[in-house]
Amino acid sequence: MIPLSWYLILAAVLFLIGLYGAIVRKNAIAILLGVELMLNAVNVNLLAFWHYHSQLNGSIEIKGMVFTAIVILAAAAEAAVALAIIISVFRSNKSIVAADMNTLKG
């Protein structure tokens, strides 16, 4: 039986990798990958707690799994939108370097 803390550590590591990737990478697609990674870290957390919770109570609930599935669905939709934006940016800028997308500069 793998203790809960391992999962949490895994999720934290995943999250930090994603965060690091989202902050330091220049490529917009890579940033998107980082964001996806962070989302999945959260999913891992969710599943871990759900499992732990049902073990404790001794009853089987599916709420946690459903929740996670919804998050994955939303992430997929979000990825599609984000990729579409990136493509349209690429068409106009011939570049997907995030630092060049600064039209909102004050």
Partner: protein, 724 residues
């Protein structure tokens, strides 16, 4: 027929005509005068049907017709206005309708309708004549049409409206409204030729002089309303109100309220009916066109004054029973009336202008009426009012016809004379036969020629009222003025119509058109016939043949009939016969041999006194010195240079300087440093902060993300610190 509605409608047509002429038809002379005459005709028709109904047995003899509507809401009740027909207003309506209608028709001819436009006529001046040339190339001068023709008809329509309002109203409020509109119209019409300085001055004089009376009258009305709470005839002339007014004491000289109000109202009458000492405006009012003189001095405005006095007789005489001591207002009225009658008659002796003679004679005759009222001869005063309206309108229109004929002669001969001066006339009976006959009728009526003229009956009734009432002094004064009246009337007729022409203009005078002679003929019928309605029963031979309708009818207005004692003496009758025939004969004898170039026979017989009369007792000069000069002096020296320039202007300038100084201080100490600089600094600091914060807005998504991370960490740390 619905006479209540008809009574409401009497004043309406002339008002509509006034507005239509002013707003729409003023470009067309023909349309304007047709409208005015049509409206006067409609009013005449309505008035006549009301009159005929009113004198019928089921008319207003027992119960006056009144009708009121609510007008102004006051706190818990309404101020009401309305119309009323009783014996007095029916009779007044009768003569007003006739004279107004005749004057409207006459004005068409007098203002030269159908004549060509003048060569250099200007609005505001009398027409100066036009030059026309006939087929042979011969040019000659003829009369020209009045430049402001339509305007004239608009004004007289408004005037007629006001008079009708005054006659049919059943309360003093609408009466006063009509009264004041007439004041306005008389101002406008006397100053009709406003570019003439004398006409302008006369208009202002008339307006201001009558205004003096009007102010007192308004005070009287206000006092009456305060005490009785109503201005309706049926309320204020009811027995118990009259009784309480006569009993209560006012704060002025211990007079009763009835006497005080009566005196105040009577001052209004003095102004309107041109009694001494406010008579000065009426002779000057002759500056207006002659139909206006007829309108103001015979048919309407001056009659309105006497009408009001007659209307007010119950209050004027409150507390007086026949034979007892006269009330204060009655005493004042009899003194002023008889004095004015004599005074104006003497002035009329020495006047040269044909219209001035008639003006002074009007003042004198109005004095008669006022004196008659003053001694309680109520019916006689009303009777004289009616007959006088007819024959004085006739005389004025006749004199207008004479002037018109003379002007024709003046244009024809190019002579430079005053066409109104009687000494330039003479022999006109051949040239203007219709005018002569009608003027003679009017003149005889004015002098009281026995039996056949209306003036005889009414004057005789006043004289017998004075004699039988025991007012011998009044009787004597009125008899003397009757003598003078007959004398100056005959002087006028002789100078104008008889003898030989004294100027070539008079030789070439010309009868006036039908529109002018027709009204003369109609009015002369009334100047003769109006007297037959009131032949007293006690009159020798004729008395009792015709019923004394007028006395019965008008007498019904008084509670319990007339107070005058009912014994008849032949003294007044003989007196009036002697004075009228004697005056006429004397006038004829003195003036029949009058030749061109000689002085007025009165001038050498009266000597210096003639100068005094010619200058109207120097009353105008006296008023100028004693009233007008000091007032202008006060106005200029004290009010203008001292009060206005020094005090009021000084205070205003001081105030403005203080304001300026205060404003400067506020600007220097408050506005500039605090408001302006504060605002500037606020803007500056905002801009500075903005430019500093701007650095964070890089537009790079990862910077924002980093910031978000940093702030979430910071937030978490703060949160942890707070929690722990």
């Amino acid at each position: 027929m619905n006479y209540e509605l008809l009574t409401w409608l009497v004043p309406v047509p002339p008002l509509i005509a006034f507005f239509l002429i002013v707003l729409f038809t003023n470009k067309s002379n023909k349309l304007s005068h047709s409208l005015a005459i049509f409206s006067a005709g409609v009013s005449w028709l309505i008035s006549m049907s009301i009159f005929i109904w009113a004198i019928s047995p089921n008319g207003v003899l027992k119960q006056p017709l009144t009708s009121s509507i609510n007008w102004l809401p006051t706190a818990d009740t309404f101020l009401k206005i309305g119309v009323q027909i009783d014996a007095l207003s029916a009779v007044t309506l009768f003569f007003v309708a006739w004279t107004v209608f005749m004057i409207f028709i006459y004005s068409v001819g007098y203002q030269n309708f159908g004549q060509p436009k003048g060569d250099h006529d200007l609005p505001g001046l009398q027409p100066h004549g036009a030059t026309i040339s006939d087929s042979s190339g011969h040019t000659h001068k003829v009369m020209s049409i009045e430049p402001m023709y339509a305007r004239f008809f608009a004004f007289i329509s408004l005037f007629a409206f006001a008079m009708y309002v005054l006659v049919v109203s059943n309360n003093l409020l609408t009466l006063y409204i009509g009264w004041e509109i007439m004041g306005l119209c008389s101002y406008l019409l006397i100053g009709f030729w406003y570019a003439k300085p004398s006409a302008k001055a006369a208009a202002i004089k008339a307006f201001l002089t009558t205004r003096i009376g009007d102010v007192f009258m308004l005070i009287g009305l206000a006092a009456l309303y305060t005490i009785t709470g109503s201005l309706h005839y049926e309320v204020i002339f009811s027995e118990n109100i009259l009784h309480s007014l006569a009993q209560s004491t006012s704060p002025v000289f211990g007079l009763s309220w009835a006497a005080l109000i009566g005196i105040l109202i009577f001052i209004g009458v003095v102004g309107k009916s041109s009694q001494f000492p406010l008579h000065v405006w009426l002779p000057d009012a002759m500056e207006g066109p002659t139909p206006v003189s007829a309108m103001i001095h015979a048919a309407t405005m001056v009659s309105a004054g006497v009408y009001l006095a007659i209307r007010f007789f119950p209050i004027l005489s409150a507390g007086w029973e026949g034979g007892t001591e006269l009330t204060a207002p009655m005493l004042i009225m009899s003194i002023i009336g008889s004095f004015t009658a004599l005074f104006a008659a003497t002035i009329a002796l020495a006047q040269k202008d044909i219209k001035k003679v008639l003006a002074y004679s009007t003042i004198s005759q109005l004095g008669y009426m006022i004196a008659a009222l003053g001694i309680g001869a109520y019916v006689a005063a009303t009777f004289h009012l009616v007959t006088h309206a007819f024959f004085k309108a006739l005389l004025f229109l006749g004199s207008g016809s004479v002037i018109h004929g003379m002007e024709h002669g003046v244009f024809h001969t190019n002579e430079h004379i005053d066409p109104q001066d009687m000494f330039h006339m003479g022999g006109l009976y051949k040239k203007m036969p219709i005018t002569f006959v009608t003027f003679l009728i009017g003149g005889l009526a004015l002098s009281g020629f026995p039996i056949i003229t209306a003036g005889f009956w009414s004057k005789d009734e006043i004289l017998s009222g004075a004699f039988n009432g025991g007012f011998i002094i009044v009787f004597a004064i009125l008899a003397i003025s009757a003598l003078l009246t007959a004398f100056y009337t005959m002087r006028q007729i002789t100078l104008v119509f008889l003898g030989k022409p004294r100027t070539s203009a008079a030789e070439n005078a010309h009868e006036t058109p039908i529109t002018m002679t027709l009204p003369l003929v109609v009015l002369s019928f009334f100047a003769l016939g109006a007297g037959w309605a009131g032949i007293p029963e006690g009159f020798p031979v004729l008395g009792g043949k015709l019923p004394n309708w007028f006395t019965e009818y008008i007498g019904s207005m008084l509670h319990g009939g007339e107070h005058a004692t009912e014994h008849h003496s032949l003294v007044p009758l003989f007196t009036s016969l002697i004075v009228s025939l004697g005056g006429l004969l004397l006038g004829y004898l003195v003036y029949q041999r009058f030749k061109k170039g000689t002085d007025d026979p009165l001038a050498w017989s009266l000597g210096n006194f003639y100068r005094v009369l010619e200058n109207k007792y120097y009353i105008d000069e006296f008023y100028t010195k004693v009233i007008i000069k000091p007032i202008t002096w006060v106005a200029e020296k004290i009010i203008y240079t001292w009060m206005d320039l020094k005090i009021i202007d000084g205070v205003l300038h001081g105030l403005s300087n203080i304001g300026l100084w205060l404003g400067n201080i506020l600007r220097q100490k408050f506005d500039l440093p605090i408001i302006n600089r504060g605002g500037d600094n606020l803007a500056k600091s905002t801009r500075f902060v903005g430019s500093e914060i701007r650095l964070t807005q890089t537009g790079k998504i990862q910077d924002y993300m980093f910031l978000a991370l940093a702030f979430s960490l910071l937030g978490s740390i703060v949160f942890l610190i707070i929690i722990l």
